[in-house]
Symmetry: C4
Subunit: 294 residues, 4 copies
């Protein structure tokens, strides 16, 4: 968002502050109103999918939907108006979500009457992606996101190993269990193995042979124990994030090294006295504990 | 509870100590008796809901219930009697729970005979909220509660993200899966998605199409991995709580070392007296245990 | 076990070392053989419970069982013989487990022929408790056990809160859901609530009303998140246990304080120089950084 | 792999670098191509197991399979050609996996026409073990693997305890529950107990008696809580791994401070030069960046 600069005129700047920032009380009120509209529109999409409600309150949902779409369209127009480079915003992540929030309804309008039900249903449900607009408001969860990013590689390795385990276990059980128990193909066995290893356990497919059940028990114990891995990695990362507070960003005046523990008095790199406000005790008294005297 | 002061007379003060505090042996005995009565009354409500037991032991339950209600009513009366501002207690959290513990039974008495079964059932079950009275006795779990409070914001962000994930996944699977498999509406799909992502996995609704099963597997792996997030946040918080209890941040005036245990009187590095407000006992009396005499 | 002293004669002492200790190669071999016999006897009990196997190999199981019982009986006899106070051992935890391992078979022998099946079945299954004898061999998992003991109070508080949550949620859903869905009584609803909150999710009882399903989703999210609590508490405890290694047990020669960080040079309590092998730098050069000179 | 040395001729050495190392762009491209081929061949095995796909695209799968097998065979031949001791590689872990990837197809060719279906099916499914070849590429996950190895003993103890708990609980519930509920033998009860304790919860076997359900609830709460144990152990291990990388234990010769980052050249407390083997650059040249000159 930082590359988006407001146009210089007064009105535009004020609208920019209202919409893109959240420092002033008015801007905060705008944010809260927007959250309300988003949640409301998502709720309408949800309720409209319930057949009895759609039959009884169909026209209500129809007009509410148009109301929400007009609000979102107007908001997007204002947003684009007060930006200097509107196309850049439209191609950004949040711009695409903004478009996704209004396009389905406008597309449905443009469709000829005898439209296939599938397309209508798709457009209807796609509107629920408006919920993604809420992501703008949780962007502040920095600490979590940072820790997640830094442990992403390890957690990816973990998930990769889990997928390999699932494939191997699934193939073994597919060999053992009869097709009647639901293990009709390897992909099906993989679905079952994922259900088991992640401790979800639907129970729509379950092993019936003693050997298959034994392997299942081994899978369960594996899945139950290895959850410790991502948890341990992420815990360590969060603890490290918190501890990173212990480090100062100030550069050493001697060598420029800029990652000292906050309690450090001397640069660990070149030995320069770091606290510029008080004099270095080594310079004052010659009987300093270290021996680098002339 | 600290804003509640006992009335100054002798009897009241002694009752106050008996009921509101737990220092004396008598007060402890009172607490244990109260826990017993609470558990007993909750047990009666539970057993009364079992149809065969209600038919056979109905009158027993009836009289036991009245016994418990009278005990709780008497206790509340005494509690209010020995307080200076009884109304304030009644409007406090514990006061409301105390009322909740006796009101249903008294209300049932006042109802005319031909009462609708729903209200009677409601009142009967509401009595089980007496179990909340036990919260008074676990209030001491300070460390846990503090760590929970401080990580509440992060865990809320986590839950919010989980809800967004559930909504998006549910919509996708609702589009893919047929209504016959149980995915009749988006709210139903959300129920299923929550069952899957939290690794509960009832299995009352399960995906039947290959694409739906593939997305389910992705959901399971997501749910299985991201449990690491609240766990990591909370672990870091508990570790911080424990450590903050132990170490002081103040630097040693002698050598600048700034990570001493709070109970330390002397710097572990250079032996300097740390408590600057009182004089060093070594300087005062020559018979100090160590030998660095003048 | 430390209060059990071997009788002083030679043979007894050597048997004692063989059975109760595991330092010599022979004693280790004895331990491994014992583990094998225990696992074998447990396997026989398991397989005997499978009807087709019992019918075919019934007599094999019978004779194997007597073999194992005689081995265990002989071992217990020898164990008691080489102890000075056999009765004390019999009443100890491991003594009771030893008795439990042989009593069912001997009792079955003493029963008159026309014995009720229930008792026979009970005795047969009770033999599986022999598996508890393996606990002797995992006693070394000190670190884990210690951490568990120290976090026991917090984890008990957690379980207690979970039980309260289960009771409250169960009562609410019992009020909402019809009896046909399986919520026939509060105890049944509690069973369901435990199945849901612990993310087990059998699916034998599931909510059918929209409101019941909404509350279930809240329960699942709660259960999914609060697993962070015991995990965080226990993690912190294990980390603390490991860190406890950083502390030395040696008492300060000045004041007797015996919990210093290993890197400490001066007692944090009385300032005495801790390293007795090298002289205190404060005593040698008067220009030591701290100022407690005459 | 480090004991495998390339033959000294030019071509062999260059092939060795291409296949066994991944430093040059070409070697990286080779790795990526190999990953693609592995994933492709695994996908073919999976899809071939789906009956409708096998019927329609059977011949495609057949020729693709031969293509993959020839690629793997050629690759293995080249691999062996450029090694000095090819037999040693064949008996190594990765060599066995390489053989496993091609043997089933070649074996199927050599089988006489009227082969039993079981063997054919077995050989077909065994090919999926090619997925194990991907392990070569995740070998870099050192930190995780190291932490896992060091906590392996504790996690084994944990799993052992879990197995003992499962056996005991299973026997109890087997005694209580009727065979009609599915508890027909102790092994079956053990399967159910593992499903319950690991919070998988298929629901194919569920307790039906009140007492059995009560014990189940206790098992669930146990399983729900003790997951904290491996997680705590592993978290502590990862945190220790990260920290051990960073800090050195050697004490500063000047002030005795013994917790420096490994990259430190000067004590953060007193500025003393830490590397005792090389002289302090400050003492040698007077134009050192810091100003404590004579």
């Amino acid at each position: 968002m930082n590359s988006l600069k407001p146009a210089s005129e007064g009105l535009r700047t004020r609208i920019f502050q209202l919409i893109f920032e959240s420092d002033t009380p008015l801007a905060k009120a705008f944010d809260i109103a927007l959250i309300g509209v988003i949640l409301g529109s998502v709720l309408v999409v949800m309720l409209e999918s319930v057949a009895p409600l759609r039959e009884r309150y169909g026209s209500w949902f129809y007009w509410l939907e148009w109301g929400f779409t007009l609000i979102f369209t107007f908001e997007l127009a204002v947003r684009l108006y007060c930006l200097e480079r509107p196309w850049k915003y439209l191609r950004s992540f949040y711009g695409i979500i903004d478009l996704l929030a209004i396009l389905p309804t406008w597309l449905a309008l443009m469709l000829p009457g005898a439209q296939s039900l599938v397309v209508v249903r798709l457009l209807r449900v796609l509107r629920i992606f408006r919920v993604l607009r809420l992501m703008e408001f949780i962007g502040e969860g920095r600490l979590l996101l940072d820790a997640l990013k830094r442990s992403a590689r390890q957690i990816f390795l973990f998930l990769f190993t889990v997928c390999m385990l699932i494939t191997i276990f699934a193939s073994l059980v597919y060999l053992i269990e009869p097709a009647e128990a639901g293990f009709t193909s390897i992909p099906k066995a993989i679905y079952w193995a994922a259900v088991t290893l992640t401790t979800v356990g639907y129970g729509d497919i379950t092993p019936v042979t003693p050997l298959g059940q034994t392997i299942s028990v081994m899978m369960m114990l594996t899945g139950y124990s290895i959850i410790a891995v991502p948890t341990g990695v992420f815990s360590a990362e969060v603890i490290r994030s918190i501890r990173a507070d212990r480090y100062s960003d100030e550069a050493c005046p001697g060598c420029g090294h800029d990652r000292h523990e906050k309690r450090a008095s001397y640069c660990l790199h070149c030995g320069t006295w770091l606290d510029e406000e008080t004099p270095d005790p080594r310079a004052e008294n010659d009987d300093a504990p270290h021996g680098d005297k002339p």
